[in-house]
Amino acid sequence: MTKKIIVLAESREGALRNVSFEAIAAGKKISDGGEIVSVLLGDDVSTHGQELIAYGADRVVTVQNEKLKQYSSDGYAQGLLAVLESENPDGLVFGHTALGKDLAPRIASKLGSGLISDVTAIEEGGDEPVFVRPIYSGKAFEKKVVSDGLVFVTIRPNNIDPLPKEESRSGEVTSLDVEIKDLRTIIKDVVRKATDGVDLSEAKVIVAGGRGVKSEEGFEPLKELADLLGGAVGASRGACDAEYCDYSLQIGQTGKVVTPDLYIACGLSGAIQHMAGMSNSKVIVAINKDPEANIFKVADYGIVGDLFDVVPLLIEEFKKIKAS
């Protein structure tokens, strides 16, 4: 049976996040040919509609309101619920991002529906879509189906491929006026950490450092390697706690969950809480001077050695490849 799916789009620093496009693709897998309606909330959302259409949304509904400038659960819930009331969808897809994690359970609770969180794959072809998600800190997986009510899922970024962008696609972009009433939580201040360059959760290559990097300067070669490969720098909790780098780089259960094509782990031991955030990476390289380090258990390739010897050599070799 075809299903109409609402997909929540998310922007960051003025640009749509990739997960918004991945969510459209996920919506398609669930909809069985039904309509995909992308929803965009914010204080100035007029510009992104066409891009969502190009990535496969059939229609876009925007809710523009001064009070939606910053995310708040109360504001977004009011905006979104108004859209849901007028659209009456059969399913919903959000990104499993900070925003999605905060908002989705509330919406599900309000609608009295189930919610399958942190989905990494969707199996089509059967009577109903089957959702795959990691459990037990990534040590196991479960397959879930919806047994009653709306099909509501959040998807882990970088796991479900977006559809190819086609500028020629067309679709309607409409706006809905929603009055946003009292917000019970008020954001007084936001300290944004300078994340110059690639968004960690969307990066195709990540070079991550741990306590073994030993200092802030120690991260320099990692940064150089990441830049060379068009990737981003990440870190373990150990490196963040030691103040070698900012917590915004932290990967793991407490930090960001990432699924790059290539994860190069330098001087980090591979604690379960760290692995929960990266074990789904397509290819993992470990560089560690301790041959017994846990990280070698998940690594596809490993070099037992001092990262301060290995990383500069890697930079040299990659430069050669790039040049050829």
Binding site: P105, S109, I135, R184, I186
Partner: protein
Amino acid sequence: MNIYVLMKRTFDTEERISISGGKIADDGAEFIINPYDEYAIEEAIQLKDAHGGEVTVVSVGSEEAEKQLRTALAMGADKAVLINIEDDVEESDQFTTARILAEYLKDKEADLIIAGNVAIDGGSGQVGPRVAEQLNIPYVTTITSIEIDGQTVTIVRDVEGDSETIETSLPLLVTAQQGLNDPRYPSLPGIMKAKKKPLDEIELDDLDLDEDDVEPKTKTIDIYLPPKKEAGRILEGEIDDQVKELVQLLHKEAKVV
């Protein structure tokens, strides 16, 4: 202040995991208080110490959760409540758990409810916000600090590494992120005292709920371990050669660069 903590007994995921009969095998496994709930319990105790009041720790589960509830009492919580669903509920999901917790909490006049931001086994992070929505109170997730002054609450929350300062008011639900505090270990006197503290056990009946009210909306159809990865290749030889080989492998075999 009347503080409630939502606590889940979880599998210690640092342990080896195996599957038997389509389930994660739990014989011989270690069970712990979900680590994020330890932060929640610690924060509740510190807030009680600062503002007075009472800390009640609530868990939905089976009799086995008594052990973790006792530990919470030994840390310094005043009361524990086990909502034992073992006999009534065969299958459950986050809808089920949240519905039960909200039903229990609705007439408790809690000023503050503290949950963990995520359970390390189930991993959905749904239960906190779901409960808040059902109680119609505001919530703030992944908090790293909380200060209460009368009814006014100032919170710092972690948003993928950025920090947001939020002002809100009681009653409120928050979920604990790592960095909120350093949970204490139960002291020996704490453990002795805990034995005499109340640990009540209730069932769905006591909440005027029956099985149908809490029937899950989603169903697990399979649980499996990730396909065994071929053992990784630890390169050998001189470091220079290892690096050359690695770059070739990434380029030609794995094709990721």
